[in-house]
């Protein structure tokens, strides 16, 4: 029997009816068409499916959709501001932090949650926050460097905004 799911995704309100067995990743990809979130290992082991729920990084393959009732979800589609990429996205491009890109949306969302909590992390803090994320192509150093670069860009952006 379907149940009602009311939640916010990337700032927009949704009111859906879902089967209880539906996972969060299925609602995002199949119901809302937000295919940026990847569904890979399906067993909690790779973090490719990471999204933010109420500001925290979680694995959308390991959460029942009904458990985010009343909550706010952010996916990779919510990062950019129109055509302007988020500093994290730009830093990933500039630092060669992906190749095939399959792990990237999960990496970006975990990095976003990290920088929201800790705007100036050390490389070790980045490694700890990202240690569940598997990437089969790129190598993890470039990803860590991109996140640190993004932290600098975000801080510069903040200072500029503060100065205005």
């Amino acid at each position: 029997m379907k149940k009602e799911l009311k939640f916010k995704v990337n700032g927009e309100d949704y009111d859906l009816w879902v089967e209880p067995k539906t996972l969060l990743v299925q609602v995002l990809r199949d119901e809302l068409g937000l295919k940026g979130t990847k569904w890979a290992c399906d067993s909690g082991a790779c973090c490719a499916c990471t999204v933010m729920v109420d500001g925290r990084a979680v694995k959308s393959c390991s959460i029942l959709a009904l458990q985010v009732n009343g909550k706010e979800v952010m996916t990779v589609e919510g990062l950019a501001n129109g055509p302007e990429l988020h500093p994290l996205q730009q830093a990933f491009i500039d630092n060669w932090a992906f190749q095939c890109g399959f792990c990237t949306s999960g990496q970006l969302m975990a990095a976003k949650a990290l920088l929201d909590e800790n705007p100036d992390p050390t490389i070790d803090e980045i490694k700890i926050a990202m240690d569940g994320h598997l990437c089969r192509c790129t190598g993890y150093n470039m990803i860590s460097e991109a996140i640190q670069d993004a932290a600098k860009r975000l801080q510069a952006q903040k200072q500029q905004e503060g100065g205005k």
Binding site: A57, L66, D131
Partner: protein, 295 residues
């Protein structure tokens, strides 16, 4: 192809009473409690568990708390997330060993949604929290429709994924007494990769008498080397009442490695695990001892 879960009926009680009521109604049938689902959903995807009724307790916010005072000690609600424990100022101040333990449980993503009650109720012999709560002399509070009971943390897990919980019971709280003066606690897990389940893990709590020379009490708990987390009581006997020395710690390590009953798995042999226990007990007890001297 991704697995699609079996169909089930979903209940989202808002209070412990509602949850217990649902459990008494459906508990005996194919019914499961889900908290964070970090372990349960994997079992459901593998069809190892196919509940008809799922009682989703994640929304019972009254079971999400961490409190401490000197008389009552520490109380952690079953629905507190791993991450909340890791980041709690109270835990950092009074039980830093719990924050250290949490930092190595899986990834941030699991810790953000998985709950301490779910972890313990899962009864995984290689889970990290259980040995630490055993070393801390913890107790677990269990609610049923006919009332409440508490059990010692060390008696909670009976064997692989089997606990004392009845089908109509809920784990509601973890309790830890205030640490006696001059007590040091340390936990270390050995795993193949950062965040992986333990190959072997050891938690030790050492209390020194007032002059900080002899060990007045000690608790040694082992994880992943028996069907359930266990106390190494023979190893404890070697240290209790004695002056701690490197030689004595090595003997305790040897005793613990004989008490453990590990099995060979896909990655590591039984002998290797015994060797790990021997070395880890010696090292972890030494660090607990150093901490006790400073406490």
């Amino acid at each position: 192809m991704k697995t699609i879960l079996n169909d089930f009926e979903h209940f989202a009680p808002k209070t412990v009473e509602e949850a217990l009521d649902l459990l008494s109604r459906y508990g005996e049938e194919e019914c499961k409690i889900v908290a964070g689902g970090q372990s349960l959903l994997i079992l459901m995807k593998q069809r190892l568990v196919t509940p008809k009724y799922l009682i989703d307790i994640k929304g019972i916010s009254a079971l999400d708390y961490i409190t401490f005072d000197e008389q009552q000690g520490l109380k952690i609600g079953a629905l507190t997330t791993h991450r909340a424990i890791e980041k709690s100022p109270v835990i950092e101040k009074y039980y830093p060993v719990l924050a250290e333990m949490e930092q190595n449980v899986s990834s941030v993503e699991t810790r953000n949604w998985g709950t301490i009650g779910g972890n313990i109720s899962h009864g995984d012999p290689s889970g990290d929290p259980a040995p630490v709560f055993i070393a801390l002399n913890g107790r677990l509070r269990i609610a049923g429709l006919n009332g409440e009971r508490t059990v010692e943390a060390e008696d909670f897990t009976l064997g692989y994924f089997e606990t004392v919980l009845g089908h109509d019971e809920l784990l509601t709280e973890i309790q830890v007494p205030a640490l006696p003066p001059h007590t040091g606690v340390k936990y270390t897990k050995f795993s193949q990769l950062q965040g992986d389940y333990a190959t072997a893990s050891v938690a030790v709590s050492i209390t020194l008498e007032a002059k900080k020379k002899t060990c007045s009490d000690v608790r040694i708990a082992l994880g992943a080397v028996a069907p359930a987390p266990m106390r190494a009581k023979k190893a404890e006997e070697i240290l209790r009442g004695e002056k701690i020395s490197d030689d004595l710690l090595a003997r305790a390590g040897q005793a613990a490695s004989e008490e453990a009953s590990p099995t060979t798995d896909a990655e590591v042999s039984e002998e290797y695990k015994r060797e790990l226990v021997k070395v880890l007990v010696k090292r972890v007890a030494k660090e607990a001892f150093e901490r006790a001297k400073k406490a």
